[in-house]
Symmetry: D2
Subunit: 466 residues, 4 copies
């Protein structure tokens, strides 16, 4: 094969190696996405550095990264040692230099992401290979060790079960703050928080666990006020930013709260913000020592599968594409609001005004079953949910607001699902999240209209899946 | 294409579908392993049942299982919703029937495995998608909710950091039981345990956390005695069976302890026992309600990646092959002992007698640096470890037994690494674990001999990686 | 797992199975593309029907489809028996019902494609798993058996080597027809063809091998006239439609020639028209018996790899997307012509007028080195080619038109590369082919401008790859 | 990540890179097989060198290696340009340095293989990406151009259709040499060959096309005698060594014939000898110029798929493993002979003595239907074939020897299937080929016994697939 051709061919390899060396050196999220071939080559090189792939290796330990199935080995790109060591999830494994680099790089890219999209002041970040709920429990467990004797977690109510359960799993006790209704929006009752702090005393209170992203009509918590309270009372401030990384509004709230008050840790899901499978969370903070303590509190090794997913996705996407996706999401939000609004009008309903929730939108369902006795309405309204589900509409939530009480581990929640005891109307919500396409909106509105028409004809005969 | 040929071809499909339907119906570990094609087809069928793969789906929620990278999607066989729901890790997801079946089946196969290889009386089992350390923390957190006020965990010392850290992570306090030296073996000091129980009172003590599999010269804890103590004092008995599933000895101990006394939960690593990548643990128990409570205490969804690995591996292996692998491991243990012993003799050392540890074997290192001042010996002995590592020997542990003190989170351990304060000789350990091949033993002994020769010549000049 | 969820999940499976059963029944190219998951499931099902994948198979023949490497097995989706039997490439293999169905379906989809995009009258089509050159040789070899004693192939000159070699490979003798220059376009000299027929006698002449797609300034052959000549003289008419399937113009020529005259066989490349890797050709015809004879003349089995590529691609694409791609190609042709034209003007060159070539476009290079002695110009002009290549521009052809003679197997071609002995100007061509993107055009024009500027400065110093 | 760990990790990469550089330099088949990771990395590096994978490429040609489906792209490891150029299958493509290296290396490894396993004197070899039948046609077409006017191919009868058809496809005429029966074996009738040569004259005869590997009771042709005849009469000698590369006996025959007489070209299937999917042949010769001429006679590019399969397989296997597989095959041949023989005895049949066929073994079927009228016997005997097929036995051939006549393209063959006009008994054959496992033999004998028992009970009722 002639030299000129080889030379030309090598150019391509050189330019890819350059991408890799820039990544290793700068540890920044590349602007332009990489193609799969380049990503695979990097992963293969990392795999080679793990001892289970050494050509002449000889394993006499109890954990040698042996993989029985080649299908399993391939899906992990032959990485098998996981990440971290018993001392620290961020620690480097002697047996697995490649997996260790994967972990270090992934965390670096995530730090870059958080600094760009949340705040320049974010000081440390790591990928926790457990979903948001358990990740928050781990955060709380670490905080609890920092402030022994403090049992209570102040928690502005948000009706998603794992947001609540993560407190109980950590062995702590929630102090539930019901929201106040401002217009049609449910906002943080900061007066009540202040009262509770005074009541229980700052020594007994571990932290405030606030939430940004949530279903309408609840708003993003007023983080700035909460952050000021935490600062003045010396309480930890943990933010459940589950799917808020994708929303400029949520990110800005965190940034402002950190700047003017205090935010210790904010946690977000990798699947909801980065379009990877469920199973990881990004634990980020403005206090480097605290973030490290959480990492060190993680007992033992962890799966590298989530690191692979996030690493591949970030490289494949590039930061420019992420910015584009966020912009697209924001446009979809407006588009959804418009189309949803037009539909509402048709059925004499309206869009619930929630200026502080830029992801989820609610529409009243005041007229469904309005001619029925009050006791029969919730069942009819709920039916809308299953009708939509049978039409492959996922993620729409129908809330009948029937004030029934749900008990979770001994705590009672009246009106569960609506974030408050008594919301004035039943409603349905839909969200514009990252990766949504315009046709999802179109399809949703079309199918919702179909269902509403069917329901408004009071057809009570049982419907079967089509 | 002629009917006869098609008929013949369809036989093959029919016989595979039969395998699948038997699996779905009986939920038992198949005796014969499946080929990859059959496994892939089943996974593809499961994927089809998840809403993110519905042809006409329309997603308007915040978590729609969207995957950005096709590389990521493929490595998860297009499953993206994870497993579990906020209420219970074992709960079925409406959006993800396929992932839910994957989870249910995997747990069923693991139950079958535990009943066959540990005890018929095992009542429930689930795969916890976190490694052993964090899994034990989750167990302890659940127990703590069952017995409020009980802070202490009785812990027979085992010098692996995450075995200890998992107690602290859960916010509990360890009561460390130093072992007693019987012959050359370190055994559970059950008298001391009794004393401690009397001292602290059963109300304050949550559980005994015993360990089966460990590095020699520590023995598997005397579970039967501990189990009887737990029963009589009404304490929870948790067994860290990290890599003990592969050892008949460990399994029998658990079984006997449960039969004659009490074992609530035993936890084992998936990677060390089933040859999958790091990241999962099997939480099993003799008390169905308690196992369920742990599952319910898990806050939120979890990754299905570990389920995929275990499911694929179990199907690919078949139970007969697993039995064969266990037998092979047992043979390798004997082979390692013989060859190791012969080598020991050559260097005037001996194999440490540890009849109650059937996985790990120790050889004394009494003669290395024996002509040096006591203070210089540990460094020389430690050097053996790095010499081996540079020769691609992984998993051998060199313990200089220099009685230095290591502090973990405020707890001091004298002689860390040797499971006790003062073990009489320095030593090196090697383990025969599942998946090891005879050539690993040969290579290890050969390289160890090379290193010992080099060291015995007192060559103190620095060695570089070859 | 609850029945409702399973039911919902099964919907997805049912709708996919429906796609498959419609395909098997109607054997038409689906309008909408399938997703990869559905395609893989179908391929897996086909694989199951091949005897090498039978669970209880027992092979005692010399060809049992055994595959050594699992990497190789996977890349063929476990199909290993190839297609065809010794008697007929289209014959069904008893040992390989799945591979046979793959072959039958692929050919059916291609028939559908040719009927839609070339002519409703196309009577049979098959995928020949050899590239265009050898495929035409196979066609000619079959024709030669049909008309023993006829040695000659009338061949309107087209300067692509394999178009010529395929005649020699078949052991036949070409009668080369030089084109005539009409305006700036090189067109078929049909008068000369008539003269040659008269000269040699129809008994000695096997066929006319005409060409549609070619580099400008050659035009698509005037197939309709040639077809009429073939009909009246009873000669076979074979059309080399290499990359003409993607061009409405070429397709229409074939259709008209078949309608008003005669076309026996037309052959096109799969890689150039369907965007698969090199290695296959579509042999299509208006005479079912003849197509079958070619298929039967193929000695032995053949690779199924090309069938896999084409089958996957057609299913993944769907016919609607193909139509869209053809439209896009046509737009790119216009865009290329415009931008190329604007550039030509800048350098006082012009676009060569070739109304009968709708794929390739030529621009004169009259001014490069125009101040140099005639003998030095070709070298300077040729340099443009390598300058472009070093800038990663592929596929542009620079033709210096220096009238040197190239000899192929004893036949001399003056002015090789320009399709004629003496084209008036040197030129460069570029083509708009399927899959091209607008940015390819932009990049090409930009880089060409850069090169032309450099050359026009008469910089003769050697340039190295950047 | 610490330097020591990285250093250790890099060792692994360095040792793999070394494997690659040795391969590129020495172009020999490695003794030890490579693992998949190393092979994939090499393929990825080759892919990078092809222009379709250049990061900044701009394609304006008609063939740019664009791939529509990512599934297709991945299965070709992103190589899409095929191999060869219009001038020569072995030529290097400027656009595809990587594919070109793949092709050059594969041919080098095959040369090494043929020199080791056939003869040191083999001078050139190439992989022809068409199966054996068409490959032989291509050889014959090239020879025909070398000796114009020579129409005839002397062909010792072998009853496999494509062995015969390949002559007709090339437009040549066979002169069929019936074998002579020596003992029970069918051997080459060299006297008849001599007579035919004298009859037709050496000018009219192109070559002798002999065959090595075949079904018993035909023997490997007496190549040495044929080779001497070819040498003395100056005829080309082509050997169809279809699956003979795996047999020491066949290889030795070729080597001796080349040494003492003349062998120009020998052709063998890649699937049957190297365990890859159907679709390629190895064309090898003792005359470098002639091998090159065949390569140059190939018109146009060809698929690189077969190169990938062979390259991956050879690297994955290593030459030591190939030697082991050949040894295993030879043992299986003996084992099959023994078990088959024992079964024969049970049914009062016998193994046909064919000392010159070391692959295929025949057993008489003299007693099946022996009590029936002669005209009904063939149907009963044939039934054995379908009974076996329905029991998943592939590759066993049942030959009723009923002297019916089969016509192929105008040539009549009496007793088709038995290689001769009238073989004394009906029989069944089985072959021991590479990759066969002992359990195939066991299963075959068991199922054959079952069928023979069933048949011997004269159960004539129709049997359905089980």
């Amino acid at each position: 094969v002639s030299k000129t051709y080889l030379q030309q061919g090598s150019q391509s390899k050189i330019s890819r190696n350059k991408l890799v060396s820039i990544l290793l050196k700068e540890k920044k999220w590349p602007k332009e996405g990489w193609d799969d071939l380049t990503i695979e080559m990097l992963l293969n090189e990392l795999a080679l550095m793990d001892s289970n792939n050494f050509p002449s290796r000889c394993g006499v330990g109890e954990r040698e990264g042996r993989i029985y199935s080649s299908m399993v080995s391939r899906r992990h790109f032959r990485l098998s040692h996981g990440v971290g060591r018993s001392g620290d999830l961020g620690e480097v494994q002697p047996k697995a230099a490649g997996s260790s680099i994967l972990s270090v790089l992934t965390n670096s890219l995530l730090l870059d992401l958080c600094r760009t999209h949340v705040s320049r002041s974010v000081s440390d970040v790591f990928l926790c290979p457990t979903a948001t709920g358990l990740s928050i429990s781990l955060v709380l467990l670490t905080l609890a060790k920092e402030k022994p004797g403090a049992k209570y977690v102040i928690w502005p109510r948000i009706d998603q079960k794992s947001c609540f359960k993560c407190i109980l799993t950590a062995g702590l006790q929630p102090l539930i703050i019901e929201p106040k209704l401002i217009g049609e929006e449910l906002q943080t009752n900061t007066d009540e928080i202040e009262r509770i702090i005074a009541d229980y005393g700052t020594d007994k209170i571990l932290c405030i666990l606030a939430t940004t992203s949530c279903f309408a009509p609840r708003a993003c918590d007023t983080l700035e006020v909460i952050g000021r309270l935490c600062k003045s009372h010396n309480l930890f401030h943990v933010v459940n930013n589950a799917y808020g990384l994708q929303s400029g509004k949520c990110a800005y709230s965190i940034s402002q709260a950190a700047h003017h008050g205090r935010v210790d840790i904010f946690v977000q899901s990798t699947d909801k913000n980065l379009m990877v499978p469920v199973g990881g969370a990004i634990i980020a903070g403005f206090n480097k020592t605290l973030v490290q303590k959480i990492r060190q509190n993680y007992p033992g090794r962890a799966s590298s599968s989530q690191f692979l997913d996030v690493f591949i996705t970030l490289l494949s996407m590039g930061s420019n594409e992420y910015t584009r996706l966020l912009k697209k999401r924001s446009e979809n939000y407006k588009y959804l609001k418009n189309r949803f609004g037009a539909l509402a009008e048709k059925f004499s309903e309206h869009i619930i005004q929630t200026p502080n929730n830029q992801i989820s939108i609610g529409m009243t369902l005041s007229n469904i079953g309005s001619n029925l006795p009050e006791s029969e309405r919730p069942a009819v309204i709920s039916k809308l949910g299953s009708m939509l589900f049978l039409r492959s509409v996922c993620g729409a939530r129908v809330v009948p607001c029937d004030q029934t009480v749900k008990s979770i581990d001994g705590y009672d929640f009246q009106g569960w699902g609506s974030h408050c005891k008594e919301y004035p109307y039943p409603y349905i919500t839909a969200a514009a999240s990252i990766g949504m396409e315009t046709k999802d909106v179109d399809l949703f509105v079309e199918k919702l209209e179909e269902c509403l028409k069917k329901l408004s004809k009071q057809t009570e005969e049982p419907e079967n899946p089509s």
